[in-house]
Amino acid sequence: MEKNFLEIENVTFAVSNKSKVNNVSLNIENEGDIVCLLGPSGIGKTTILRTIAGLEKIHSGKITLKNKILSSNEIHIDPENRNISLSFQDNCLFPHYNVLQNIQFGAARNKEKKINLEIKEVIKFLNLEHIIDKFPHQISAGEAQRASLARSLLSKPDLLLLDEPLSNVDQSFKEEIQVKLKKILSELKITTIIVTHDSYEAFYLGSKCGIILDNQLKQFDDPYNVYHFPNSVEVVKFLNRGILIPAKVTGENSLENKDLGTIKGNFIKHYPKGSDVQLLLQPEDLEHDDKSNLKLEVVDRKFRGTNFIYTLKTLNNLLIPVFVHSHHIHQHEVDEKFGIKRPINIDHIVCF
């Protein structure tokens, strides 16, 4: 039977016996896959990366890379012998070497490997040309982060671990780097685990996303499923991309909310008729319609460039987010009434 590229089996990730993330099991099936880990600060995401890199030990479970056990209760391969590269959040460039020399550390490790990646190419792709002669203390945090990323990429590790790799990078430059990073990782087939706060970054870069909450890996799935089919109330609340409203199941394909009336769609999971549920309502589930008799009060409007997110208040004081394209001509101010198209149809109904 063909094994997974990386296997984490029932591992508790902890520092100094202080439990952080318990009993984690996840696999990366193929070489070159990118996995993103999302979770609030201090939950233990960095500890997971440090443990996989070999900087922390494990006391239960097993970590296997390319069919080789890296960590278990009895075995611990030192970090220098794992060929795993970890790019730290706070960059950790060697302070007494300039940026180029720092980057060359990655290339030096890799000189025996045949890879189609030149230092110049990486420097250009990460826009580091102007700082290669500078020392770490002379560059900005974002530049240092990019230099650290370049060093990690050039070492062409079996597994690349990136801890908030773009957290200090300018927003204007971030998307460009994300695109290039995805391309280069895919071309070089570098298997990568990325820890990030940014769910959009995770959804874009990762072929799979893991959500870590309450000391557990709550969900590990592809980004579409994580967003559209969250498996718990905690994941919904963490992603903050919708709200849960009370509803009663009225049929095979329908439910009823006191404020919004009948809502139709396909249930992901079967609920008996008459069940009281919490329905996940996401901003794109409702449509604007000024002619509709269902009018809700606007309490907030956020302009997000391509779209607006309206927050509407119902008679029972529920606050509902609604997505509207920004070129939409009917703009509404706070306190105005906002019409919602009826009947409400949702492609897939997620309830808890």
Binding site: I75, I77, E80, N81, I84, S85, F88, D90, H96, S140
Partner: protein, 545 residues
């Protein structure tokens, strides 16, 4: 070959064991001192308890407090002025202030007394300028406790100055700007941000000063001050009671441990290496003009004059007045002997202190850290006691172990030999090397090591390729500091040196002990000159930071 290590065994790697052994070797003479606590002492003990013991203790405390206050004020003051401001002569003062290292406290004491004593140099100057008169009553006298505090402080403030200045240099402008942002005045920024950030360096400097002060013999005995050190010397030399001498040393050690514990306790869990997240920003130097520039210059010049020029000029004056002593001195041989000792000892000290520090860093073991802290207290034990403890241990080992093995005696290898001398220097100055490197290591974030491992560097390669290049300037500076200490060192050299092997320090002492202070001037001047060369070698590095 891939290394797969069973959990649990890993902690005790070669670095841990090396570090443990080094600390243990350094701790042997200290353990010998401690073990003497259980030995019986002579009748002198009860006499001492009823008479001088409290004098010894309180005089030591007064001396310590006075010296710490003065070295802190001068050392931190000078470090702050030359690090944060630019004024006429600032680059000169950056290294010239370190020249005070070249003057041992006992030579400073000779100079201070010779200058201010009745019919001394000050008297001669006044007579030459204003004519014959009785100036003796108008000339202040710096003797006793005050003389000792001044002599030791001007001789030792360099420790605080060098380490604090180095720490100030690495302080980020971000910290200062943060203070401004919070509305702090310059004074508040200094006391709330700049000074606390340099705390490990200041404490390291003051610890060295404290240990040197408590173990000083030359200056305090010259001023006739009764301290624990002179008590130890008297117990051993005058009453032949080694056990009591060791017991007094034990009290001294307890005192030093108390200071260490107090400092560690007050520091709690604070870390002082900067997290690189926000990036480092070089300091903006403030250019002083007008009277502010003059004040800064005057302060630095006064310290430079009092700490270095004054004793040098006094010694030079004596040497010129009595040229015969200078001509008779075998200065080349003394110079070669001194340099030989310095080179050999510095290399050995730095090498082992580095290994010990790295072992501590890797293992993060509390046991090892405690042993290292214990072992570096050797600096607080007077050189005489260390030398005697070493001889006692070698004799015991030779009688109880070597004899049983049936091999030849090892005494000639260790007693009255260069090797023995270097070993006792090693115990004595291990604290200097160890603390210096530790202070450098505090600046290297642990994630730098982790980053290195993740780039395939082994522990050894991380040590050689990352730490040594990063700390090379610190190593160089520590080497110079050790060299200067060894050039000035007196009691250990006197006891442990091979027959007819003299250095500038021993020659100066021999003349001084024969009441031939004017003859001691030439070797003292050579001693200062040699030590100054070491400082001048580093001047470029110090100015360049």
């Amino acid at each position: 070959m891939e290394i797969i290590i069973k959990m649990g065994i890993k902690k005790f790697n070669i670095w841990y064991i090396s570090s443990f052994l080094i600390s243990l070797v350094v701790a042997i003479p200290i353990i010998t001192v401690f073990s003497s606590f259980f030995e019986t002492t002579s009748n002198y003990t009860s006499i001492l308890k009823d008479t001088f013991l409290y004098d010894y203790i309180f005089n030591s405390i007064y001396l310590l407090v006075g010296v710490l206050f003065l070295t802190f004020t001068i050392g931190v003051g000078c470090a702050y002025i030359v690090s944060f401001y630019s004024f006429t002569g600032v680059n000169f003062f950056k290294w010239a202030l370190i020249l005070s290292f070249a003057v041992p406290a006992y030579i400073y004491a000779y100079s201070l007394t010779a200058f201010f004593e009745n019919y001394g140099t000050a008297f001669s100057i006044l007579k030459n300028i204003f004519g014959q008169n009785n100036y003796n009553n108008s000339i202040p006298k710096f003797d006793g406790m005050l003389g000792a505090i001044i002599s030791i402080s001007f001789s030792l403030f360099g420790y605080v100055y060098v380490l604090t200045r180095s720490s100030f240099h690495y302080q980020s402008q971000n910290l200062i700007e943060l203070g401004k942002n919070l509305g702090f005045s310059k004074k508040k920024s200094f006391f709330k941000i700049i000074l606390p950030s340099a705390r490990p360096a200041i404490v390291a400097g003051l610890s060295l000063v404290a240990m040197e002060t408590l173990s000083d013999f030359g200056a305090v005995s010259f001023f006739g001050l009764s301290t624990l050190t002179t008590g130890i010397y008297n117990a051993w030399i005058s009453f032949d009671d080694l056990a009591l001498a060791n017991r007094l040393s034990f009290y001294l050690l307890i005192f030093i441990f108390g200071l260490f514990i107090l400092e560690n306790f007050s520091r709690k869990k604070a870390q002082y290496h900067s997290l690189s997240k926000g990036g480092f920003k070089s300091k903006k130097i403030i250019y002083l003009k007008g009277y502010k520039s003059f004040l800064a210059f005057s302060f630095c010049f006064a310290v430079f004059f009092l700490s270095f020029l004054f004793p040098v000029l006094q010694m030079l004056y004596w040497t010129i007045i009595f040229p015969k002593h200078f001509i008779d001195l075998n200065s080349l041989q003394l110079f070669i002997n001194t340099i030989l000792l310095v080179s050999f000892s510095s290399i050995v000290l730095i090498f082992f202190a580095f290994i010990s520090n790295y072992g501590n860093r890797l293992s993060r073991s509390k046991v090892l850290e405690a042993l290292t802290t214990f072992s570096i207290s050797g600096y607080a034990i007077p050189g005489i006691i260390l030398a005697v403890a070493f001889i006692t241990f070698i004799s015991w080992f030779d009688n109880n172990v070597i004899k049983l093995l049936g091999t030849e005696t090892i005494k000639p290898i260790f007693i009255g030999s260069i090797l023995g001398l270097v070993l006792v220097y090693f115990v004595r100055f291990y604290s200097l090397a160890c603390n210096g490197i530790k202070s450098g290591y505090l600046k290297i974030n642990y994630s730098i090591d982790e980053s290195s491992y993740l780039h395939g560097f082994s522990k050894f390669k991380t040590f050689t390729n990352i730490h040594i290049p990063y700390l090379k300037n610190s190593i160089f500076l520590i080497g110079v500091l050790i060299s200067i200490e060894i050039i000035k060192e007196l009691p250990i050299t006197l006891i442990m040196r091979p027959f007819n092997f003299e250095t500038f320090a021993t020659t100066a002492y021999i003349f001084a002990s024969q009441d031939l202070l004017e003859a001691a001037a030439a070797p003292s001047l050579f001693l200062i000159f040699t030590a100054s060369i070491f400082i001048l070698i580093t001047s470029r590095y110090i100015v360049r930071d």
